[in-house]
Symmetry: C2
Subunit: 401 residues, 2 copies
């Protein structure tokens, strides 16, 4: 990560990624249309298309009759180049989604374990079985798999909170790789959603996009100039653990006053507890809390409405910090802001962002729900990783894994 | 700014900038050494060197005898391609520095006006005269000037705080350009220092560098993957106006609780005033305050020592936010942290950064004084702008100016 210089290989790599993404967006295209879409020269497009055809990543799609002149050869990503599998692991949930090599979803399997799965071996075992089931559903075999992308909360360099799985899988990646016998890439869900925005979402039209996730945990994924920002230790985007209140509430990360301690779901519950101790909503378990709070606020419960209002100001202020430092064109929201509570919180939060952001930094900012999925993102990352292993790109995707 | 796609021109541009920066760093080099230094292919280096020789940006430097084999032709930036002038304007100060086209300093003139210069016409007039004096000192004429870079506090998109110059010059750039009759680029000092880090400093060895300035104002300049991050409206890096204390002290930007209101010099004075109202140091004017506070703390004044200690914690927490969000390899400090107060504040601040940063984000972080100058940075930006106008690069330097 430490070298700023870009080499000829990086430059060829950029062109190839640009063309792959353009093909993905277009579904079917031509060399001329790709040159038009990407701004690359016709000669570069021809060379890149040759490389992609040669490696089977792209395929010819038969003759397309243009509006004028003779028909030209159509191009598309080659769905049959192989399969890419996204795996999601959290708590008792094990999910595997099989994609073709044009990133179209073929099959999905979601297994909920009856009890928490604690031993790393058990987690690895369940991942392997969920993946096998999904491959069977998709009519695919192990030999078809170009890569597996595993979405794991937390991160490589973050201290694992407990010795219990699935968090601890970060410590056992070699065993996971050995057990699966497949190329494995692991990333945290927010980096994956950011990758999905880059490949398939707002990143297609904007140079600078921030995905902000509001759940029990809070974090951001940053896309800048055609790449997901990773930073020196792979942890860029830890917005949830940037400061909202100096020496404020204790955060689960150990710091005091982090944004997550105010706009994460447990933090919202704490806001309610501060103003209305003993409120019956405080007994609602976390997974249902945001929706219950929204319902109560809408039905006129003043304590709920006040907690919603305070949360909106906390969120707006925290988003304004992202605007101050990163100054993105788009903030794409996932988690509770995009669901239950969003409709109540966002109008006030957005006003606060615009009030708090320095100068005109938020003048053209768009705040919108993210339509991107972490599964698609991790599949895109796994595909990029496959292209790296095939010598097509020099990606900086998780060099350590 | 809104288009993420990179074109063939961008890619050629990257190669040219890479070679120019390598020549700048090396002083004198060869095609083979440039390929070695940059990782570009020998063919790319040859093509780029041809372009640079053709436009006069580079020149042959005579034969160099290598350690083995026949002598090869040396290459260097061509200092005589022209002159680049950096101009600094703030309050009563007007400074102009003339560089050759290899960014070597030829002459510097610093004029302090006897009274505040308020009318835009007067400011423009003083800029023109200071520039002319500096050119005369350097034995250069207007015809030699490839570009002028003006360092102005504030920014294009930030509201001008008063109708008074020099801040208001942002509103009168056309008149400045007309009056000088030269290509003019304007940037704020932190973006310029970041450019200097990128061209000549830590950015040469690291992909991700943040320059953090601590003066009366507070801000950051972010270098990522070979470019200064500008953001959607050119205001990325407004770290000074990110939150330290939700609804805390009033900041001059209008928001409450910004980092600047605590770690800017007026904020430090306010910290002292809070714990020691009536303290004699509170009468020291701002420009000397940081040094006076450092001296008092070192001579055992407990109130001064306490203000230093609190400032260190504020600074550490604020820097930890930069680490959380950007996760840089290096934070390069300018302003008071690099001068008077730094020795007292930094050890505690650095410990706080490492405590507060999420997970291992600060594990390999280097915090160091910046040795880069805004004048060199604005000269580099002006040179880059010249190369853009010459069709050599597709820079995103200040597209609006
Ligand atoms: Zn935290
Ligand atoms: Zn402020």
């Amino acid at each position: 990560m430490a070298v700023a210089r870009r080499t000829s290989r990086d430059i060829r790599s950029d062109s190839r990624l640009i063309v792959v993404r353009a093909l993905l967006a277009a579904g079917e295209s031509t060399r001329a249309a790709l040159a038009e879409d990407t701004g690359l020269s016709p000669a570069t497009v021809s060379a890149v298309v040759g490389d992609l055809l040669g490696s089977g990543v792209a395929a010819e799609a038969g003759l397309l009759s243009g509006t004028v002149g003779r028909p030209t050869t159509g191009l598309r990503l080659n769905p049959d180049r192989g399969r890419v599998v996204g795996v999601y692991v959290e708590d008792r949930h094990f999910q595997a989604t099989v994609f073709d090599a044009a990133l179209r979803r073929l099959a999905n399997v979601h297994v909920t374990a009856p009890a928490p799965v604690e031993a790393a071996d058990d987690v690895i075992d369940r991942i392997a079985r969920t993946l096998d089931t999904a491959l069977a559903e998709a009519g695919a075999s192990h030999e078809d798999v170009l890569g597996v992308g595993v979405l794991l909360p937390g991160g490589m360099q973050r201290p694992v909170k407990s010795a219990l799985a699935p968090d601890a899988i970060w410590l056992h990646l070699d065993r996971l790789r050995d057990r699966l016998g497949l190329p494995v890439v692991v990333d945290n869900p927010l980096k994956a959603i950011a990758a999905a925005e880059l490949w398939l979402g707002a990143g297609r039209r904007c140079a600078s996009v921030v995905v902000a996730n509001l759940g029990e945990g809070v974090g951001a994924g940053i896309v800048q100039d055609g790449a997901v920002v990773r930073g020196a230790t792979g942890t860029a985007g830890e917005w949830g653990h940037s400061l909202l209140v100096f020496d404020g509430r204790a955060c689960q990360c150990g710091r005091r006053g982090c944004a997550e301690a105010y706009v994460g779901v447990p933090g919202i519950r704490r806001t309610l507890a501060e103003t209305a101790p003993g409120h019956p909503l405080l007994d609602v378990p976390l997974p249902g809390f945001a929706a219950a709070l929204a319902a109560a606020a809408e039905s006129g419960d003043p304590a709920a409405a006040s907690a919603v209002e305070r949360t909106a100001h906390y969120l707006g202020a925290a988003l304004a910090d992202l605007v101050a430092i990163v100054n993105p064109e788009v903030i794409a929201l996932t988690g509770w802001a995009a669901a239950e509570l969003g409709a109540l919180v966002l109008p006030v939060a957005e006003r606060r962002v615009r009030d708090d952001a320095p100068g005109d930094a938020a003048a053209s900012l768009v705040i919108e729900p993210s339509h991107s999925s972490g599964m698609e993102g991790i599949a895109a990352i796994a595909l990029e990783r496959f292209m790296r292993d095939a010598g097509l790109v020099t990606t900086r995707v998780l060099p350590a894994l």
